[in-house]
């Protein structure tokens, strides 16, 4: 009896620790997922603010920049894609392309003296620059939270819990392929 009860106690402790381990992994996973989602929500608020500026910006610019009409149409398309995106990866791609194109529009302003003198354009330029800065700050926080969540998902036993219930890695804001290219400098 003594041997059996000793074995029962040892098994009880090991079993209990296993159960607690799995529950703790699940709770950590939920906590990290919540943090990443909150960080995303913070980015999302600013991204929406930026999209709200787009119609105004396009309206201001299109009278001057007739040659870049194609680019303005692409921005309008991206707005529709971003606001109707099914998953976060698609959204992030649209947002990153939009950031690049918006940057270009601001630069074009320098080529059109009338546009450069337009008070409305200058106001939009300032607001956009401010929003881009906010997005960059919040994007870093989101990337940190999403990385923590993605890394934890791959550790044991969280990997079992994550794969069993939901297996979705959070996409990160990464540099676009064209941004990774080394610029060619010619004298």
């Amino acid at each position: 009896m003594a041997g059996i009860s000793t074995l029962a106690i040892v098994l009880f402790i090991i079993g209990g620790v296993l159960v607690i381990w799995v529950i703790a992994a699940y709770n950590n996973l939920v906590h990290l997922r919540g943090q990443a989602q909150r960080a995303w929500a913070n980015v999302d608020v600013v991204l929406k603010q930026r999209w709200d500026l787009i119609p105004n910006l396009v309206e201001t610019v299109k009278g001057y920049a007739q040659h870049e009409r194609q680019m303005l149409e692409r921005i309008a398309e991206l707005r529709a894609v971003a606001l109707g995106a099914k998953d976060r990866k698609e959204r992030i791609q649209a947002e990153q392309e939009a950031s690049r194109l918006l940057g270009n529009i601001i630069v074009w302003g320098e080529n059109y003296p009338e546009l450069k003198a337009n008070e409305n354009f200058l106001q939009l330029q300032r607001t956009l620059a401010d929003l881009e800065e906010q997005i960059a700050d919040r994007r870093e926080l989101y990337n940190e939270a999403a990385t923590n969540y993605n890394v934890y998902q791959k550790t044991f036993p969280a990997v079992l819990v994550a794969q069993s219930v939901w297996a979705a890695e959070m996409p990160l804001f990464e540099a676009a392929p064209q941004e990774r290219e080394v610029p060619k400098v010619q004298f």
């Binding site: 009896m1 059996i4 040892v10 098994l11 402790i13 079993g15 069993s164 219930v165």
Partner: protein, 456 residues
């Protein structure tokens, strides 16, 4: 299909529940009831009545194995009561009745040897040389528990698998992970049941072996867990590359720079040493008279001892500004682990290079470990930026990383951090393995701890 599966699960669960209920509801035999009652009476302090109940149980016992068990208990209690003649008689009876190779024989012989020497130990029959292996079969009750446990495991596995499938929206690609997780959890639940059954059947009277095995199991798990965490942190610290503050992004990083005391410094009580981190300990050499129990003579004795006693200790760090040449960041030291390089020694409040080998009563020695202002430090921490109110600038900060549960401030060579972690991890792992071996030893040798306690 799902409905059929659910009904099948329900039937299997009911079957398993019934089998377990039968297991726990079976009444104990009369002699065992008396045997347990004797323990209760003994625990109440009614020794003579407890012995009388044991005699009754002895009379009711169906076979020699049961009688040997009762005889051992009778002998043990008589021994504790100082009735050495009775104890001798019942120990001998226990040896005679025990089956060859039984652990009770060994324990009874140990009991006999532990009796005071003045009493002549009568000759008792030495068991014949063992021709059978020294293994006693598990009682029938325990053997019958295994099929029920197997059914319980299968039921838990199926129920958990169904639950996980349902929670994941019947995803096929998650099936493999769900099978592994369900097996792990079903195994864990099944492991916990035998103790529950033993408790329900009221046959559980923990022996020293049980306590020791339980404590060693918990200790082993804790040591292994801490060893794994220390090793993980060591790997993280080793793998984190050096970053410049100007190009840093949010997250865990390593920065090296000069520690500027922008938020004040700490000053030591002895020597007035200032630093951004200070760990000061003062000890006095004293003479003490102690009372202790001598187990050999079984008497309380007194002795005079000389030792160092701590009279003052203080450990603290203050926030500082880290300048790595590209930018500056505020280091929030809350939760940080410090590795200072500077050490100052004082003997009787005078600076010395090393402490003396011999000390006189009343001597005071002080050790101060510290990081002075403007020292070059390496910091592993979480980097983040905070908006400075009223300005367009961001404030760079380094703080304790809650995700990695780590922040290190090091002065000097980095290998110090890695060596400390490797050493601690290895020591904890070895300790955990030793404890595990102890548990296995106790499981393979039932009664080993009780025997040891009885001997000493």
């Amino acid at each position: 299909m799902r409905a059929l599966l659910t009904i099948a699960l329900l039937v299997i669960s009911l079957g398993a529940g019934y089998a377990l209920a039968q297991q726990s509801a079976r009444p104990l035999p009369k002699w065992k009831q008396e045997f347990q009652r004797a323990r209760q009476v003994w625990d109440k302090g009614e020794a003579e009545r407890a012995l009388a109940v044991l005699e009754k149980a002895f009379a009711l016992a169906p076979d020699d194995t049961a009688r040997a068990q009762i005889a051992f208990r009778y002998a043990d209690w008589s021994h504790q009561l100082g009735q050495y003649d009775t104890a001798t008689r019942w120990y001998s009876k226990c040896i005679t009745l025990s089956p060859p190779g039984s652990d009770l024989i060994r324990r009874a012989r140990e009991g006999l040897n532990a009796l005071p020497r003045a009493r002549p130990v009568p000759a008792y029959p030495v068991p014949p040389a063992t021709t059978v292996p020294p293994w006693t079969p598990a009682p029938a009750d325990e053997v019958r528990m295994f099929p029920s446990l197997a059914v319980l495991f299968a039921v838990s596995l199926l129920v958990l698998l169904m639950l996980l499938q349902w929670a994941s929206g019947w995803r096929r690609e998650a099936f493999f992970a769900q099978v592994v997780l369900s097996t792990l959890l079903a195994g864990a639940v099944t492991m916990m049941v035998p103790l529950g059954v033993i408790l329900l059947s009221q046959r559980f009277s923990p022996q020293p072996d049980d306590w020791v095995a339980g404590i060693l199991t918990i200790g082993s798990i804790v040591c292994m867990a801490f060893a794994a965490r220390t090793w993980q942190q060591g790997q993280l610290l080793r793998a984190t590359p050096l970053t410049r503050l100007r190009s840093a992004s949010h997250g865990f990083l390593k920065v090296r720079g000069v520690a500027e005391a922008a938020f004040g410094v700490l000053t030591s009580q002895v020597g007035n040493i200032s630093g951004i981190y200070l760990s000061e300990i003062s000890q006095r050499y004293v003479r003490r008279t102690e009372t202790y129990y001598d187990s050999q003579s079984k008497r309380w004795k007194t002795r005079t001892v000389h030792r160092w006693e701590t009279i003052y200790s203080f450990t603290q760090g203050v926030n500082f500004l880290l300048d790595d040449g590209t930018s500056k960041a505020i280091v929030e030291v809350d939760g940080a682990e410090f590795y200072p390089e500077h050490v100052a020694l004082f003997y009787n409040y005078r600076p010395v290079r090393s402490f003396r080998w011999f000390a006189s009563v009343g001597d005071v020695r002080t050790t101060i470990r510290y990081i002075p202002p403007n020292a070059t430090v390496t910091v592993w921490a979480r980097y983040y930026e905070r908006d400075l109110p009223g300005t367009e600038r961001d404030e760079m900060r380094l703080q304790y990383d809650r995700f990695h549960k780590c922040m290190v401030v090091l002065e000097g060579n980095e290998s110090k951090v890695y060596t400390t972690r490797s050493g601690t991890g290895l020591a904890l792992a070895v300790l955990g393995v030793l404890m595990l071996l102890g548990v296995i030893f106790i499981l393979l040798n039932p009664g080993a701890v009780s025997g040891y306690i009885n001997t000493y």
